[in-house]
């Protein structure tokens, strides 16, 4: 698949790639596909190979952990402008959660093997891509910590340790 001007433009417009030069966006667009998901559709399932990640353009995606016999536990909800899919960065390179579209959702998917072929010999491009994940993970970690604090306040965690 050759560089796709339209996709390259869409990539450059997405918040995740803010500040990335258009040359790099064009190169990465070779790995990109525009995808549509219906409400309720699973984008990926826990345990399957994390072979692509997604930039959400419209809609909303729930990250959840399924528990037999109970409602799934919601880990996070991601909206337009956010990046979906961190597991491709870390062993064992399999999705840690289910991702389900809870509205009609449009996303650009980027295929990992293709991306690697672009950045493997180009540390500057690799850095450009990886460094964008850091503030995303920091935000999500901060959100998790806020929820932990809320829980601690609720459940009177401060009873004395025996």
């Amino acid at each position: 698949m050759g560089p796709n001007e339209e996709l390259g433009r869409l990539l450059g417009e997405h918040r995740f790639f803010e500040g990335m030069n258009s040359g790099s966006c064009d190169r990465l667009s070779e790995c990109a596909t525009l995808e549509q998901f219906k409400t309720g559709q699973y984008i990926f399932r826990e345990g399957s190979a994390a072979d692509r990640f997604y930039l959400i353009r419209h809609g909303s995606v729930v990250l959840e952990i399924h528990v037999p016999g109970r409602d799934p536990i919601v880990v996070d909800t991601l909206q337009a402008g956010e990046v979906l899919g961190l597991s491709w960065l870390v062993s064992p390179y399999r999705w840690a959660y289910d991702a389900r579209a809870d509205q009609a959702t449009e996303a650009i998917s980027l295929e990992v093997t293709c991306l690697r072929s672009k950045y493997d010999n180009d540390p500057a491009l690799a850095s450009e891509l990886f460094k964008r994940y850091i503030p995303v993970m920091a935000d999500r970690l901060a959100a998790t910590r806020r929820r932990i604090i809320d829980k601690a306040k609720e459940s009177r965690l401060t009873r004395e340790v025996k």
């Binding site: 826990e46 345990g47 952990i65 399924h66 528990v67 037999p68 016999g69 536990i73 062993s91 064992p92 932990i148 601690a152 965690l157 401060t158 009873r159 004395e160 340790v161 025996k162």
Partner: protein, 301 residues
């Protein structure tokens, strides 16, 4: 290992008694509970308690294998499967650790020393303590999951020389939720054992580890190619423990889990506990993980 398929097979390695022999105890009626009297009730955690029981008529408690369970019957409330938590080498007192989470366990919660409840069993499959001889043993337990594993721990410690490196890794929600804490501290003091405990969160007073139980595996202490892993806890915890064991090099055919699903008859008849082609009550609750792996992820539709 107990098996309905062959009623003359021994109930466990702890006894030559078979289901045929114990038919007398059941009155040839495995659906009939035997009355047991509580001779001690111990509060373990804010919602978890242990009952020590002996048969009300003064007869002997049945021997059991580590991993097996009984159906406990609270008069007026109903029945619930509970793993046996005692020492299989000393079955005279039947020990059950129970978490109060529903109407039957709440009814059991209200019982006091001297009260009587009904016991049917033992049922189900053992932890592979015999197969694990000669291997390293890694026990990964979470929350109440330490209770069904304790008999296996007792067995391994009683026959320590038959096993390689032994590691016990335990995770709980907070320090107040650590089950059998005094016993864990005692085991930790043994020189021929690795014991490590972590909690999901704690107040500043806690001096131990905070983090997911799978991080304890990074500490090592076992040879993944020569290890048998025994895993028990809530299903999500078992899923990520297995993932982590795989990442550390332990294959699925060397990992055993204890499954819990709704049981009714406990003898492979009613189908309530069916998991694919298996009945958890008689083909489990202990399963070798590779045998049930495709079923483990089944989502309710």
């Amino acid at each position: 290992m107990a098996s309905l398929a062959d009623p003359s097979a021994p109930l466990s390695e702890y006894t030559s008694l078979s289901r045929q022999d114990t038919g007398d105890f059941f009155g040839a009626e495995p659906m009939l509970p035997v009355p047991y009297r509580i001779h001690k009730r111990r509060q373990e955690l804010s919602d978890t308690f242990t009952l020590e029981l002996t048969p009300a008529d003064g007869s002997h408690s049945l021997p059991f294998g580590p991993g097996q369970f009984n159906m406990l019957y609270a008069f007026g409330a109903g029945e619930v499967p509970v793993s046996i938590s005692g020492n299989p080498a000393n079955p005279a007192t039947l020990i059950h650790t129970i978490r109060a989470v529903g109407p039957v366990t709440e009814a059991l919660w209200d019982l006091k020393s001297g009260d009587v409840l009904g016991v049917r069993g033992p049922f189900g499959t053992d932890w592979p303590v015999a197969e694990a001889e000669g291997s390293d043993v890694v026990i990964v337990a979470g929350g109440i999951g330490l209770a069904p594993l304790r008999p296996a721990i007792y067995h391994v410690l009683n026959q320590r020389e038959k096993y390689g490196d032994v590691c016990i890794y335990y995770g709980a929600r907070t320090p107040e939720d650590i089950l059998y804490r005094a016993e864990l501290e005692k085991w930790r003091g043994q020189f021929d054992l690795t014991v490590d405990v972590t909690v999901d969160r704690a107040t500043g007073k806690w001096a131990g580890k905070v983090g997911v139980v799978t991080r304890l595996l990074a500490r090592g202490g076992f040879d993944p190619l020569q290890t048998i892993a025994l895993v028990c806890g809530p299903e999500i915890m078992m899923r990520y423990a297995i993932k982590s064991l795989n990442q550390h090099g332990v294959a699925n055919d060397r990992i055993y889990v204890s499954m819990e699903r709704n049981m009714k008859c406990a003898i492979g008849f009613c189908g309530h506990c069916q998991l694919g082609p298996y009945f958890i009550c008689k083909d489990g609750p202990v399963f070798r993980f590779d045998r049930i792996e495709p079923l483990f992820e089944i989502r309710q539709l």
